[in-house]
């Protein structure tokens, strides 16, 4: 589904990703852990095609297409979804209007008919219920005045509506209490169907108690330095990132 080879990427001439390899097959859940500044968020931005994130070397194919050659919206239309760590607030644009445009843009690309307002509303209500967002949030401006937890749930709600083939969750656990974490994890788990894949980016092991990964990768200094199964996350939880060397010994876990 996703194959990244020797990826190098930079922001404002500063190289952040330095030779990253990763292969994600259908239905797999990959966790990417790592200390602050390892390039975790950058990876999500590069894969989604954000302006200013320049790929200097390497390849990334997504469902046999050259991902790096696609525009941001094409990537999304092809089934890539990024749940943001800090979703932006867009006052004046209603969540509902925004999501309806989004769902229909993706349906159009898939050759499906646009949803009518009523059809969309029905789906949106179900998705809201699933992540325990009150329906009033559909009428509010996109993320406008949402709490941190509400923003994260709104991201998962969008994922449920858009039905991507690959979802990258960028620290969807940060700033959440245990109950909210459970809601987010339930939302994600409900979308695991053996075909849809996930890349779960997180600083902490905690989220992985709720979303069980098939693989865990440690990202440090722009590269995957260690890969393993779920037990690798436990190891990090216990010993921190000290095994990465002196530089990370003090790194908070």
């Amino acid at each position: 589904m996703l194959k990244i080879q020797n990826l190098h990427a930079s922001v404002e001439d500063k190289t952040i990703i330095k030779g990253l390899d990763l292969e994600v097959k259908p239905g797999e859940v990959h966790a990417i852990m790592g200390p602050n500044g390892a390039g975790k968020s950058t990876l999500g931005y590069v894969l989604s095609g954000r302006d200013g994130y320049e790929v200097n070397e390497g390849t990334a194919t997504f469902n046999n297409q050259d991902l790096l050659d696609m525009d941001v919206e094409e990537r999304a239309q092809s089934g890539l979804f990024l749940a943001f760590q800090y979703p932006v607030e867009i006052p004046g644009v209603s969540n509902m209007e925004f999501m309806k445009e989004s769902v229909n843009a993706i349906r159009e690309k898939q050759g499906k008919e646009s949803l009518t307002a009523a059809e969309f509303l029905k789906k949106a209500k179900e998705a809201c219920k699933q992540v325990q967002l009150p329906l009033a949030f559909l009428k509010r401006g996109v993320n406008e005045g949402f709490s941190g937890g509400e923003k994260k749930r709104n991201e998962i709600m969008q994922m449920i509506l858009l039905q991507p083939t690959l979802a990258i969750l960028d620290e969807s656990d940060s700033g959440l209490d245990v109950d909210a974490l459970q809601v987010v994890a339930d939302g994600v788990n409900s979308q695991r169907d053996g075909e849809r894949s996930f890349i779960v980016v997180t600083h902490y092991q905690r989220l992985l108690d709720y979303i069980k990964p098939d693989f865990v990768h440690i990202l440090a200094d722009g590269k995957i330095v260690k890969s393993g199964d779920a037990s690798l996350a436990q190891e990090v939880e216990k010993n921190g990132y000290a095994f990465l060397g002196k530089k990370y010994e003090e790194s908070e876990v």
Partner: protein
């Protein structure tokens, strides 16, 4: 002087009608003050060189044309083509108490009423207003008698042919307690030069719902004005929509001549690549207890330039005035430009007055967010940026006009390429 102005004055065949004195005066003023120089404050950002060197070309054969369709608009249609009224006023279905006639077709009493409007609302300092006084041959007088409510909209449409110079003029009198809705509509993008001025005398407790669509684009040069005199207790609700073109300039004057008059004006301008639009608005409060609320919002495309000058002048006697002016602009490119200048002159001490101007650029982070959700760039820009224009369009009181305007502006905006 400019070649064009000289020719305009030479060519003008001033009719020896009841307006001859005013026209002659304007001609003399023009000759005295001449062509606005580069440093003339009101033309500082809008160079007139392309007009100055222009050769005057009057239309020869004028054929009647239809006004642009507005679905569901129930209107009395007046159509000017190349400065000539092609509508036969005698054939219009006009309700009792309403007069629509050309200046040469007025009774003596009607002439007297028209003379109280023509040149009596529009301030003298508008150069092209003076040009229009001199060069507009056949104007129209619209007179709504006291206590008459005109249900139908009156639409004045201006169309122009290739390379032609055209000058149109309308004088409107709305009697006491009367109510009317008037649309000024100019459209087209053929190379041309038009001036179009309308003066409105709004009587005591009268109401005017007004629209001006200055939608000439491309190489069409359009210069014009809408000028309002408000008397005791009268109200004005004006919506102005401007496109940019090679040269597009609009002057709006709202003059509170009576007490307790309320004026509301919403202006929207959308400038595509390389276009220019210049809106000068001037609000004069000469009497107490009046209100003015003006909102002007524009989106400026690549290499386009907008000029907004919003003046509020509160005279010494205009106590308890409430006046607000707000101008917001969105630049779609670093190469777009807005010169915005709010001007406040307040000589009364018990007034509430506010003004502000803002300029924003595209919020790249919000745009990226929408793109990651599969929304196309052009659609995302419409969602993000069209909203603040839409907010004003949503306030348009007439349903048919609003329904016509929204998709029209949205389509223009979508075509405005972002760099």
């Amino acid at each position: 002087m400019s070649q064009w102005l000289n020719q305009v004055i030479e060519h003008a065949s001033v009719p020896s009608d009841f307006l001859a004195t005013v026209r002659q005066q304007s001609r003399e003023t023009l000759q005295q003050q001449g062509w606005p120089g580069r440093r003339a404050e009101s033309w500082r950002f809008t160079p007139l060189t392309s007009v100055a060197k222009r050769e005057v070309k009057s239309a020869t054969d004028v054929t009647a044309q239809h006004a642009p369709e507005i679905d569901g608009l129930n209107a009395i249609e007046l159509v000017f083509v190349d400065g000539k009224l092609t509508t036969d006023c005698d054939k219009l279905e006009v309700p009792d108490g309403v007069l629509i006639a050309t200046f040469d077709n007025l009774s003596e009493a009607e002439q007297q009423r028209a003379a109280k409007v023509f040149g009596q609302v529009k301030p003298e300092h508008h150069v092209f207003g003076l040009v229009n006084d001199v060069a507009s041959e056949q104007g129209v007088f619209i007179d709504v008698a006291d206590n008459v409510t005109l249900e139908k909209v009156i639409r004045i449409t201006n169309l122009v042919s290739q390379d032609v110079d055209a000058h149109t003029r309308v004088a409107v009198n709305i009697g006491e307690n009367a109510s009317a809705r008037i649309v000024e509509h100019a459209q087209g993008d053929t190379p041309s030069m038009t001036t179009a001025f309308v003066e409105y005398m709004i009587g005591d407790n009268a109401h005017l719902e007004h629209y001006r669509f200055a939608l000439m684009a491309g190489q069409a040069k359009q210069i014009g004005g809408s000028h309002f005199a408000l008397h005791n207790g009268s109200t004005l609700n004006s919506t102005i929509v401007g496109y940019g073109s090679e040269l597009s300039r609009l002057d709006v004057d709202i003059i509170h001549r009576g007490e307790h008059a309320d004026a509301k004006m919403n202006a929207v301008y959308l400038l595509a690549q390389g276009e220019l639009f210049d809106l000068h608005s001037n609000i004069e409060h000469t009497q107490p207890n009046g209100t003015t609320e003006e909102n002007a919002r524009g989106i400026i495309g690549d290499n386009a330039r907008a000029v907004f000058n919003g003046r509020i002048h509160i005279h010494r006697d205009a106590q308890k005035t409430l006046a607000e002016l707000n101008n917001r602009n969105l630049l779609l490119s670093r190469k777009g430009l807005i010169n915005t200048k709010p001007e406040l002159e307040i000589y009364a001490d018990d007034v509430k007055c506010a003004h502000g101007a803002t300029v924003a650029e595209i919020d790249e982070e919000a745009l990226y967010y929408l793109l990651t959700r599969g929304i196309s760039r052009s659609k995302a820009l419409v969602i993000l940026n069209f909203g603040f224009i839409q907010e004003l369009v949503n306030q348009v009181p007439d349903d048919a006009i609003r329904e016509w305007l929204l998709p029209k502006l949205s389509e223009r905006f979508t075509r405005m390429e972002v760099k």
